[in-house]
Symmetry: C2
Subunit: 498 residues, 2 copies
């Protein structure tokens, strides 16, 4: 139904994006945030057809998609609020406090990088796709966006693009501020990555996809930043005292987390680590019971289901891996059926294949001989989006070393809650050391994600009337600024040279 | 005199750095800043021998080195002050304001990346070398540092390492917090870049060196960030009305800037752009007069002088390039003798060779036919550390389009001052789009440079007593934090779940 874009069409789209980038410099922050809020309204105005279309294209449930729509609308609105606060500009002003002085007047703000290409994710057709968080962040920063539509849900992508276009017309934004291109192959995506007009890339998806993009971007005459979120196995450390006290309860919640969204979350807990002992019996037997009664559910599309079967089979073939629990349901076509496996700590540490993500309702119980082996398991882990400790106060007091190791290897560390469900708030870091992402300095959830698409620019001795508003003496935007090293919302009155 | 490090010695150094990284986590920010201030004191305590050694190794003047020492001491002290302020942590706290709530308590801070390798610059033996800004920033962030000593001034490097070691012992810092290795070749540097213990690299030097390091770092199993500052040609746009009013004065100051430090600054103005017209005569004739009386001076070392002659000769051989002015002094061995050349705007735009940095006392006057051609010259420029406008108010009003183009291509834009002399303050951005640096998001001068060596880490539902100090409810560090989207220094009292 959707025609693949031609190279000439892509060139035209990029030329418009470059033009829009310049035009947008003449727009105020307030005009951008008005546009962002109108996008939110237009997404809501799509109504039931958006939900029905996404259900048909993604097999996700109505309840899940209603929730995801609310989250997506919240992203546009809350990022608009934060954009107006202006803290993300990191405005800094230094000037001499007495004259004569050899010190110059120097002021710094953040400026938009330029056109941004967004590759959306298949598992979040609203929140991480066409009108998702990456698009909202780039527009907040002042960057035009070109979305490479996700081939898994093209109709949903088209509806979202319509909502953005309606908002654009209402808010009189330049035409090139947003565009979407369709292509079922790789050619158009590669052309976008390589084109000199493109200044940054945001991606959510697989390790293979993310690293391929990063390599292409690094090979350009002008290398550009790639913010790729590539998933992880999100280890859970279930500590001895906690296991003793809450084995059955945690087992049930754990299966709930593993099967949430049919396991198709980048924060899906792909491994849970325990120390051997008699308390483990209750945990394992509850897992078996609950798993047996957990129904299979349709996955996003046949390709994902096929890949789940393949990666799961590969994991189960590894030395020392045994199936621990699984659903008792008949397995229908393209459905993801829960499997929990188990392996020893020693095998896990020595086999890199067990550290690979299995995208779907699968998790691995790693049984360590003792606390020392659990530490070595932690040390063997690669970079993760999240790591979780289920622990009592007693456990935590005895886990200082473990906590240190775990923190070095993740972007978010969680206590007695599950990693699935990424709260959209400023304190959220959705990122982490490689291979969870290609750039551990930035988040892809929360308004701090705006910073991915900016860079600092200093103005030295620049006349006040020609400065950007956020740096002007009288602080017309009423934002927090760091003036001669102190945070303040006050205006400034530099002493004048004679 | 200095033995090249062996691979085994480097391995031992890195093992100690990894250990120190963990040990440092148990140290407070206040302990780190105390160490930083003690380093400053110990650098001063080196006294005259430091200046004399650097003079002998670098050919830089006593006055220049006294100034650079003051600057280096200021870097350690002012970065320590800013480290204590804690704003760089970007501490954020979000918690539910009413219970029951589905929202989790999420808090975010910045954590140290791990051991950092610093490659210093030859042209700043104090401020951008062993005990330079990169080392100070990394230690401020909590990262141990391994310096690959600059082969151009090894004795100076050794003295600085002694000062740091004295401070380390006084402040009881772990042994691995700082190390320096010597090697005249590339082997040890490459080993450092490739080693898994190393988590980030800071470099100041040539485009060739910086991009080679970035490529090696990207090829690692775990790619790491490279913050390379690679210099630029720092264009100056001399606008018509300003030229009319101040031609002679600017000509004199311009030569002063071009020859400052024998032209061996990364902010050296390598090109000055004007529009043809009768006012140009005064400018050119003053350049000739002043240049004729400008003495040659010894360059950093014979290799630099040789390279200057080579790149200068190459620039002068380009089509349409003519010598405009030069020193009348006899040229002594290893001395840099001023040459100013001139070329038309059309030639400059079409010849990439003229966009290359000539490291030394050389600059190119680009004469444009009209304002339109000056715009095209601006558009032809690559990423720059700085760009400068010499302009009157009238010029500036007519330069909106030029300013937009120029801002897109630089990290600092300057009005009626010269780019040489980089003020060490928070509002300074010393960086810029590629090829000025490999990462336009960060500065290498000013305390914001600390952020290069950190990444965000979120804590979800984490018990208060186990949180890092900067995230604890009662704000024991008394720092600014963003709590539920508002900046505040207040403590927080989250509502408790039932």
């Amino acid at each position: 139904m959707f025609k693949n874009a031609s190279p000439d069409e892509v060139k035209a789209v990029l030329a418009k994006a470059e033009e829009a980038y310049r035009v947008l410099k003449g727009y105020s922050i307030r005009q951008r945030t008005s546009f962002m809020r109108t996008v939110a309204t237009e997404i809501e105005a799509l109504g039931d057809v958006l939900i029905k279309t996404a259900m048909a294209e993604s097999n996700l449930t109505e309840a899940r998609l209603l929730g995801e729509r609310t989250r997506t609308v919240w992203q546009w609105n809350s990022y608009a609020n934060y954009t107006e606060l202006g803290n993300w500009l990191d405005a800094r002003i230094d000037f001499p406090t007495a004259m004569p002085s050899p010190k110059p007047d120097v002021r710094k703000t953040s400026v938009a990088l330029g056109p941004v290409v967004v590759f959306g994710a298949g598992n979040f057709p609203f929140a991480f796709s066409t009108a998702g968080g990456d698009t909202a962040c780039a527009i907040a920063a002042g960057c035009p966006v070109i979305v490479k539509a996700h081939p898994g849900h093209p109709e949903t992508c088209a509806l979202m693009a319509q909502a953005i276009e309606k908002a654009r017309i209402k808010c009189r934004m330049p035409e090139g501020i947003f565009a979407q291109v369709f292509d079922e192959g790789y050619e158009i995506g590669q052309m976008l990555i390589k084109h000199p007009a493109v200044k940054a890339i945001a991606f959510t998806g697989s390790f293979k996809g993310g690293t391929a993009i990063a390599e292409l971007a690094a090979e350009r005459d002008e290398p550009i930043p790639v913010f790729a979120e590539m998933g992880s196995i999100n280890p859970i450390f279930l500590m001895p005292d906690k296991l003793k006290q809450n084995a059955a309860e945690i087992a049930g919640q754990f299966i709930n987390s593993v099967t949430l969204g049919v396991g198709q979350f980048c924060t899906n807990p792909g491994v849970i680590i325990v120390v051997a002992g008699r308390d483990l019996d209750t945990f394992q037997s509850t897992l078996k019971q609950v798993a047996a009664n957990t129904p299979a559910a349709p996955m996003l599309h046949p390709g994902i289901a096929k890949n789940f079967e393949k990666t799961k089979a590969n994991a189960l073939e590894q030395s020392g891996v045994e199936v621990l629990a699984k659903t008792g349901a008949e397995q229908a076509e393209n459905h993801g059926a829960l499997v929990l496996a188990t392996v020893s700590g020693v095998e896990f540490i020595s086999n890199p294949a067990l550290h690979e993500e299995v995208f779907g309702p699968y998790s691995l119980l790693v049984v360590c001989r003792d606390a020392e082996e659990m530490l070595r398991v932690a040390q063997s882990l690669k970079g993760q989006l999240t790591s979780t400790l289920f622990a009592t106060g007693k456990d935590l007091e005895e886990s200082e070393k473990l906590c240190t190791i775990v923190q070095e290897r993740c972007g978010r560390i969680i206590f007695n809650q599950f990693p699935t469900g990424v709260e959209v708030c400023l304190a959220m870091h959705h990122g982490g050391p490689f291979p969870a992402t290609t750039n551990s300095a930035f988040t892809s959830v929360g308004a701090d994600g705006i910073k991915r698409f900016t860079r600092p620019l200093s103005f030295q001795n620049w006349p006040d009337e020609f400065l950007p508003d956020e740096l002007k003496n009288d602080n017309p935007l009423e934002i927090w600024r760091t003036v001669n090293n102190e945070l303040t919302m006050e205006s400034v009155n530099p002493v004048q040279a004679n």
